[in-house]
Symmetry: C2
Subunit: 364 residues, 2 copies
């Protein structure tokens, strides 16, 4: 879910590439009309950025994906709706992308499209969704500005919900803008802990539930049920980026690790080699998936976060401080790698694994 250029997923609609590029091209004129300027480098990044003079405006719309289907299935097993977790996941999809450009999240809108308004007649589930949404907003210090709850019979499946979030943020002071100009050879890469699968790789995880004994009720090594472990909500990373700003630390680049797993760590447009000497512990649920789906490390690290939900690329002298600030926020972190001169690739030394530049395609 990271193909941003003019809203078009090039992997799916290659014939439309030219048109989408025209759309992007016409933008500059539109903004100039209002005395604003597009930050061109934000095209292809995780959030769209406009220069408003005193500060930058960043915006994004992100979708949960199909993780709510796991909650729906788990309810029969756990007796809980799990929608407070699902709500946090949805917010996290938007917030964790928005903050990569250096923005402070200001306000969010909820998009909750159901197959029928009777979805909300289940008061427990509706209450959990609202409570989880509010709690996630509170964690991120973001205003819940409103939203949309359309009933879309015939479009959304009966008793299902399509969840998305849009988020607006400000980059202020403008020196906080993190679009990658600052990234340099020698920078340290700090990885922030993930809570599990987050909301990427969920289709694989759901398919697996049909194949393993016990399905979602299967037990991991620590006794947790597979489905419950899957539903550990995505970590919200904005407390870390805000704490860093308060501490005067401006990352040189940031990556929200999502559907492309560790391949996404070479998202930056320039050619650098990202060499990792250390791996975060792999969440049990991801080990379980890897073992039962019989996928090798290349496929696992190339598609799942494998314990690293977010990456901060920082000046080497600040790396330890970044780790301290993250831990003070209750989010574990490790100085795990460094940026080197060399071809665009991710080298994971402990696994003797390399992803080349051609393995990632998130830009036009």
């Amino acid at each position: 879910m990271d193909y941003k250029q003019a809203g078009v997923d090039y992997a799916k609609i290659d014939p439309l590439k030219i048109l989408a590029q025209q759309a992007a091209a016409s933008t500059a004129g539109h903004l100039a009309q209002h005395g604003l300027t597009e930050v061109v480098a934000s095209r292809g990044e995780s959030a769209y950025v406009v220069d408003c003079g005193e500060f930058y405006l960043a915006s994004i719309t992100e979708c949960l994906g199909t993780k709510a289907l796991v909650a729906d299935a788990m309810r029969a097993i756990s007796g809980r709706t799990h929608y407070e977790q699902i709500a946090q996941d949805t917010l996290a999809m938007a917030i964790n992308d928005l903050i990569t450009v250096g923005a402070t999240p200001v306000s969010v809108h909820a998009y909750w499209a159901t197959g029928g308004s009777d979805w909300f007649d289940d008061a427990e589930r509706a209450r959990d969704l609202v409570a989880g949404w509010k709690a996630a907003c509170d964690t991120c210090g973001v205003a819940w500005g409103g939203g949309e709850t359309p009933a879309l019979a015939g479009v959304v499946a009966p008793d299902r919900i399509d969840l998305a979030a849009s988020c607006v943020g400000l980059v202020r002071p403008k020196s906080r803008l993190t679009l990658g100009e600052k990234l340099a050879v020698g920078d340290a890469i700090v990885l922030l802990v993930s809570s599990g699968i987050h909301a990427n790789g969920v289709s694989l995880a759901r398919k697996l539930a049909e194949q393993v004994d016990g399905g979602y009720a299967a037990r991991l090594a620590d006794g947790t049920r597979y489905g419950e472990a899957l539903l550990a909500p995505t970590v919200l990373y904005s407390p870390v980026t805000e704490a860093l700003a308060a501490a005067g630390v401006v990352p040189h680049y940031a990556v929200n690790v999502t559907g492309h797993g560790w391949r996404k760590l070479m998202r930056h447009p320039a050619s650098f080699t990202y060499r990792f000497h250390r791996l975060p512990p792999v969440p049990q649920v991801l080990r379980f998936i890897q073992r039962h789906a019989q996928i090798d490390d290349r496929e696992a690290y190339g598609n799942l976060n494998m314990g690293a939900g977010f990456a901060l690329f920082v000046a080497p002298a600040e790396a330890d401080r970044v780790v301290q600030v993250a831990r003070a926020c209750g989010i574990d972190a490790w100085v795990a790698g460094r940026v080197e001169a060399g071809p665009r690739r991710v080298v994971i030394e402990p696994l003797q694994l390399t992803f080349g530049g051609g393995d990632l395609r998130v830009r036009a």
Copy 2:
């Protein structure tokens, strides 16, 4: 689709009202942390507004609804996808709400959730959607910042698409803020022409297609097919509000006429009587619906736009100028009513019809 307070549709989730209010209440503290202030009066209005010092930031997320189902059905009859029209409808849902607070739309994000990524394999349909989206952005002078095209098998129905748009805007200068403080007895009400059903009342229109001879292929009096007339895209009104700003005219209030038809004209929180002496011509497709669905004027004007897609409440001395500016934008307009002291109600004199304050419930 106008229940905005903290994203919760109170008509559906009354038990959650208190919680949602708490969410709204906690917002002030969050924004203060960032040196920002919520414009409290925007809660309950069509867009959420935050005071950023030099200007106001407005944001919104809006859904198309089920109108794409009409396009899907009409394709077999017309041989066209109609998705360039559907794209404009989707943008209009967001833009026309955002501009009611006085904002200039700056950037939009597309939300195109499908039942499977093969939706985009239909190149003609995909191209029409992109082209229509781009054209609508161009009409409104808004930057297409990006978007999301998730494939949601199991959530969105096969070969269907859930379309939404989020939009960010700036109110600049701040004197353009239109939250209703300026509305006064004696103000004139200028109505702007609609193109047809827009995207509200579509469920009724779809149901009717199952009942009338010929369905979507039925002919209106002017020979147009019912389905084609339904698909006339929603008028984009931001060229008018921008032209008014350029002409130095600041409306005292604005209403995007949507799902509550003319009842929405008393959306303003204060008690005023809105008296109309003139009606815009009723689009043929709405006359067709009214006749075949056998609904009276109360139901028709209480739920459909009946020819008035947008309302501007302005100082009486500026009313004629507003009409001229709108017409110069190619959007017909009429000085159709006035604001009077009196109980909260909409009085439509030519029809001897009155909607009382209790007939509208779009606020908490």
